[in-house]
Amino acid sequence: MWDAALHALGVFADPHRLWVLLVGVLAGFVVGMIPGLGGVVAVSVLLPIIFRFDAPTALAALTGALAVVYTSDTITSVLVGTPGSPASGPTAIEGHALARRGQAARALSAAFLSSAVGGMLGVIGLTLAIPVARPLVMLLGSPELFMFTVLGLAYSGSLLGASPIKGLLSGLLGLLLGLVGPSPAAAQFRYTFDHPYLLDGISLEVLALGIFGIAEITSLLARGGAIAREAPLGAGWLEGVRDVLRHRWLLLRGSLIGVWAGVLPAIGATAAAWMSYGHAVATTPDRSRFGKGEIRGVIAPESANNAATAGDLIPTLLFSVPGGPAAAVILGALYAYGIYPGPRLVEQHLDLVYVIVWSFALANVLGAILAFGTSPLVARLTHIRFALVAPPLLVTMVLSAYQTTRHSGDLLALFALGILGWLMKAAGWPRAPLLVGFVLARPMERYFWLTVELHGWRWLTYPGVLAIAALMVGPTLWSLLRDRREASSRRAKGKPEGSVPGALLAILAAVLFGYGLWEARTYEWQARLLPMVASAPGLILALVQAPLALRGEVTGSELEAPPGRELVQLLVIGAYLGGCWLVGYFWASLLYLLAFLRYAARLQPAAALSYTLAGLAVLWGIIRAFGLAWPSGAVLR
């Protein structure tokens, strides 16, 4: 084993390979920073070039790219509150809140260090797993996998926030959105309105961009000024490192959650990050700072998402079963080299396994160095007027969203979800449960029906199922008890007032849930159960919530400007998206950038023009380098 490990390290003695690894790392790093682009794009952009190399070199490049995506995505999450990839959603909440308080450097350094350590622990887990993972995975059948998805939901219970009704509504809404598309157990499409765009369901990338990205940009623009409201950038870098050391056990637990979520085929880096975040919330004595910039809420998810990437590789290499969409691309590349991972891979190509292990480790180090190296520059962005940062950011987000299917539906979905995210923000609904419900909905449904079909009801007494149930009951009870104790102190804050967005959102939710129920009545039983489980309580809760919001409650609204001003910004974004659809991406972006920079950011005409042209040139470079597609315009075509 050690011989093979050392031999594989020798692979990198060839400077050519090291160079290719670096190219992979750079590609992954840049893709990670661009909001909405994640692991799949990072490895896909390399596919056209890697087939010119031998298998170890190609694997080094792919692994390198995959390993750093969840390191660099942090930068966007912290600085602008838009997840660099869906798996850094929690960081977009906590890290960004820290950045607003002028602690961007602290959040970034804690996040980078956690990412690197999480990645390292993940790859150690990968190495140790090679001899034991097979019997372990053989223990996990459909019933156990189903229970793990339920466990994921239960752990996110601590994300519900100050008002359990709103938290539950958000989670149920996530479940319902996650069920759009094909039903796994019955041959039926749900909530697709017979439109081809919805046949495969809503994409996670577009959802994360809309719910967080659009909503955040809207608020920041409406508020005006720079992202950081207080304090100059200052030091803080060392403080972040100290934070990580102080919370080392949380870091370790976060990484373990990540590795485990990676190993499970149903649960990926996004769910891992949220579960780990939920775990951080549940284990922090003073929870009041969550949502307002709690460093523990950065450390836990950042270690988990990097570790999950390594964990994803375990089923990929040992069973030829991809642990996630990005791992599927790596698996495809291995196939194309005629390498079929599986039990025999360890015997026949152990050196290749270690090439992956070393590449992953090296890439994590390189990624952290790159991240620490570039972010002092990037962190300065938080002190520039946001009106100058937002337009190129929005333009890039639209491009990312369009990559998921290259269909104009991506633009519409982005805007619709953006409105939903903004309403949730305005009404003080936590957005985390929505993401968790969304990512777990489909695996939960799939494994529930497989379990029932394959095992009848005997599975309820399986030891593995009972063990996972025990894992679930303890922490849930504990957190409920604690909630009761804390409830009075938390509710007292703020002045109750009627909230129009709150009432609107509750009514919108009621309509969605009502439609969900109504539409589900025609489905086969297997396609109907989960939509009903999500919609029926959702409808009741929404009907309870609507009058509450109207009569007056502590909304906990996260808006920072008057709703009217925010709404104007949201409409401008909508107009730009409509423009992309109508006249195509380039003309719309040109017009939007020019108009926004001139009239909203009040730049001199010459400055606005040169900024616009420079921005478009950089975009064009990104499009060419990564082979991206752009909306070509319904009218001009």
Partner: protein
Amino acid sequence: MRGLAVGLVVAVALSVGTAWAQAAYYAGKSIEVIVPFAPGGAADVGARFLSPFLEKHVAGRPSVTVRNIPGGGSMLGASFFAANAKPDGLTLMCTTSSTIFPWMFGHPAARYDLARMRVVMTLPFGPVVYVSPRTGVQRPADLLRPAVPLVYGGIAATGSDLPILIALELLGLPVKVVLGFEGRGPIRIAFERGETNLDFQFTPVYLTQVVPLVRDRKAIPLFTGGFPNERGELVTRDPVVADLPSVFEVYQLLHRTKPAGPRWRAYEAAANLTFTYGLSCWAPEGTPSAALQALYEAAERMNADPEFKERGKSVTGGYPVSRGDQVERLIQRAMRPTLEVKKYIIDLLEHKYGVRGLRL
């Protein structure tokens, strides 16, 4: 003698001439291959495996890039291809039966007409059906009387499981079918765990993942989908796994007569589209014949290329590619089976698997 010499000169001149003409078509051009699935799936792997060999063997050596347009169960990408690809041979689409079946059964989202497209090249995906020894089934003859109920795990009735589901009906096997798995990999793990006991995998996966199980006596291979003769009838053995009987043979073994009627023809059509022409590459109608010829001839040269054979062994099972002009008629026929056959398939899907909205 002189006649022969003149003939040779003419033949050489002609072949040089045609080669030159084709080189002129693709020389300095680039081909974009649209794959209507996300990276990493069977169609993507197949297309990416073919593309360097296309670069090598298409006269004029065009560069070839693969572009994934996933969504709508491949219907978005195929509709995009139909709406945007110019008939110049520079945009092709490589896909699977997942694109063909919804079009055959009139799905409203299938906004493309495969009957009007040209087949450029195809590559087989061969299936191998195997069973767990705990079922008491040792050989195909035992299939009608298993010791425990047979349980088959699949993804969806309208996808690549369809021909196998029809085969189970055709053979009259008592099988409980459980659909809803995420992919064929997780199904294999469920088989290994004993959650299911009847499964199929495509040949490269069978050779690398299932054969070790066979050696450990944890799986018993039973039959393949069969391979077509020159008339497209699935009556011969799969050349890659020639020691296993085909569905055609197993039917005769179990029922003492040759399979016939709509069930058999439904199986043939579905199996040809899913397996025999598993990966099919298409060009828009009106593509110049110079382009098509260059691609057909590339297929021929690929089959003669030792590197292609070597790499193909592990990637695809080692099947040769087929020239589009040689299989186009057979594919078009398989895509338009008789009304009776279509009715049979729709009946099976509607009544046994609850699929709705299929149109004749």
